[in-house]
């Protein structure tokens, strides 16, 4: 299997990482060699195997419905790249 440039561009779009053609070509090369070695998995028949999503053999703990977090707006916004005391700010979105 080969991953072509079009696929690379599509993935970069989904990942929200812009890449130029040169970078795309290099990525295609790298990814193809990585997937060549990943293809090894196809040697295995896994039809009747249950997928494993977590090794933590326990059930989900449930927390009580209590408001514990206070107003920490200043702390939340402090690291924000665009300064504003009330909001996060992003370039204008037009719907």
């Amino acid at each position: 299997m080969t991953i072509d440039l079009k696929t690379i561009k599509h993935i970069s779009k989904l990942s929200r990482i812009s890449i130029d053609d040169e970078k795309a070509k290099k990525l295609a090369g790298d990814m193809n060699s990585i997937f060549d070695f990943i293809e090894k998995l196809n040697e295995l028949n896994t039809d009747n195997v249950e997928p494993l999503t977590s090794v933590a053999e326990t059930t989900l703990k449930l927390r009580a419905d209590e408001v514990k977090s206070k107003d920490i707006r200043d702390q939340i916004l402090k690291n924000s790249p665009e300064e504003n005391k009330d909001f996060f700010v992003v370039p204008r979105v037009v719907e």
């Binding site: 977590s54 009580a64 419905d65 920490i72 916004l77 719907e95």
Partner: protein
């Protein structure tokens, strides 16, 4: 062709199309704190003051699920007579947006907490069943504000992480009225259960409407479009109307319908495509590795079942059996849990003068008119059930006439006043002393001699004139029944 008015069909030349509608309702769960964080869910707070490090997706922050939200979802499932899944899995739905701080929404994709169920709609031409496909838990997004700053979009994350139930119906609805009835019924069930306040203005209840059209009689589904985030029943109906006609027109022109997400523009009353195709979404769902599968026991579910209150369908049946109200009246009375509660309070307080018909009438006509006018919920009614029952009692025991009652009703609204007190203070007690009334009528007949003679000569229409005079002179307080009797005797 003649149309049954319960049908909603679109005709173009010789083709008759029916509309197939399914709904994805997003209902905000009533809870103190968010689905995966301990910040408050209170509506209308200052921007970004109810945001925890988890809600703002700070590095290394992890979700921990709120038990109450799980219970609320299961209770809703029980209310929808649905399958409760003892094991469900949280997945990540991956996409980038300004008000989605994690870059993914935690939702349930393959294994939802609630499976198939049903909702029964009370349509004018009989009950109609709508299938529920599933109900799953997910996080709400924050809010993007586009109109406060000319250059930028501002983001408020107060809503980010609030628990939502997405309730997906089967494509079982065919008319805008059914859609309206469905949303109202869902809302009613959730309000009975206390799982969602159903407040559409505050956005606690919103819906994505899936619409397709097909030639009537066909059993193949057409290509559907999804109208995103419609936040009122009226808009849903308008969107269905516009969108189904748009689709029919496309088919008639021999064009194809693209399966896509559309937006309903409430100002222009039209739907339009939201996302260009080249930017098609691929949400890359996968199980959230920060969370484990959610497992609940039979015991956990049984405990919740024991907590389920009487739901609208059962209450309706009981009202018909117990109070002998008509199915139509029962439907109205049970549609909202607070209305049903109010009705039963009025009934309970009326005691020996109990008159169900009168109570129903006063609630569904006079009180509803006021609430409608003032845009209030019955829980905010300016007149308490206690005082309304007193008022009805005053009518029943002959203290006041129905007409005076309406006047008193108006006065009661100013601070939920006791009708008995108003009657006393304003002297509105009905005059039922025969002697006093005879004196009053004697005076009227005396003052209108000529008319009395005309009446006696056969101009019976004038009887009404005398009644009117008696009411006018008594300031409306004269007992109308006695006036009639005395007038007949004296004339």
């Amino acid at each position: 062709m003649t149309k049954d008015n319960s049908e909603y069909l679109i005709e173009r030349y010789n083709n008759i199309y029916e509309v197939v509608i399914g709904l994805e309702v997003h209902a905000q769960i009533t809870s103190n704190s968010k689905l995966f964080s301990s910040s408050s869910t209170t509506f209308g707070a200052e921007p970004n003051t109810q945001v925890s490090l988890v809600d703002a997706a700070f590095p290394g922050m992890l979700p921990v699920i709120n038990e109450y939200c799980v219970k609320q979802a299961i209770k809703t499932g029980i209310g929808l007579k649905a399958q409760i899944n003892k094991r469900s899995v949280f997945d990540r739905k991956n996409y980038f947006y300004a008000d989605l701080p994690q870059g993914y929404q935690i939702s349930q994709f393959k294994f939802p907490i609630v499976g198939e169920g049903t909702v029964i709609l009370d349509m004018p031409n009989g009950p109609k069943e709508v299938g529920i496909e599933r109900l799953h838990l997910e996080q709400d997004a924050g809010k993007s504000i586009h109109d406060m700053d000319p250059q930028n979009t501002l983001v408020d994350l107060n809503r980010s992480g609030v628990a939502l139930m997405e309730i997906v119906s089967k494509p079982d609805m065919r008319t805008p009225d059914e859609v309206s009835a469905y949303v109202k019924k869902l809302r009613s069930i959730m309000r009975y259960l206390g799982t969602c306040d159903g407040n559409m203005q505050e956005g606690s209840l919103r819906a994505d409407v899936n619409i397709s059209v097909r030639i009537k009689g066909s059993d193949v589904l057409g290509t559907r479009c999804e109208i995103k985030n419609v936040n009122s029943i009226k808009f849903m109906q308008m969107a269905i109307d516009y969108e189904s006609n748009r689709q029919v027109d496309l088919i008639q022109e021999g064009k194809t319908i693209d399966q896509e997400t559309r937006l309903f523009d409430t100002k222009k009353n039209e739907t339009r495509s939201m996302r260009s195709k080249e930017d098609a979404h691929d949400y890359r769902y996968f199980p959230d590795p920060d969370l484990l599968p959610l497992e609940v026991t039979d015991e956990f579910i049984e405990k919740l079942k024991a907590d389920i209150p009487e739901l609208p369908d059962d209450k309706k049946k009981r009202f018909i059996d117990k109070y002998k109200v008509s199915p139509y009246e029962a439907t109205i009375l049970v549609s909202d849990i607070d209305t049903a509660k109010y009705f039963e309070e009025v009934v309970a307080k009326m005691g020996k003068n109990l008159d169900i018909k009168l109570a129903v009438n006063w609630i569904t006509s006079e009180l509803f008119a006021v609430l409608n006018n003032k845009n209030l919920e019955i829980s905010q009614s300016p007149i308490s059930s206690k005082n309304l029952s007193k008022l009805i009692n005053l009518i029943k025991n002959g203290t006041i006439s129905g007409k005076i009652a309406k006047t008193i009703f108006e006065l009661m609204m100013d601070g939920d006043q006791d009708p008995q007190k108003i009657v006393e203070e304003k002297g509105l007690k009905q005059e039922s002393d025969p002697k006093a009334l005879e004196a009053l009528i004697d005076k009227i007949i005396n003052d209108n001699r000529e008319k009395a003679i005309e009446y006696k000569q056969g101009k019976e229409k004038l009887f009404g004139f005398f009644v009117g005079q008696a009411m006018k002179v008594s300031g409306g307080k004269a007992n109308p029944q006695l006036i009639n009797e005395i007038l007949k005797k004296k004339l």
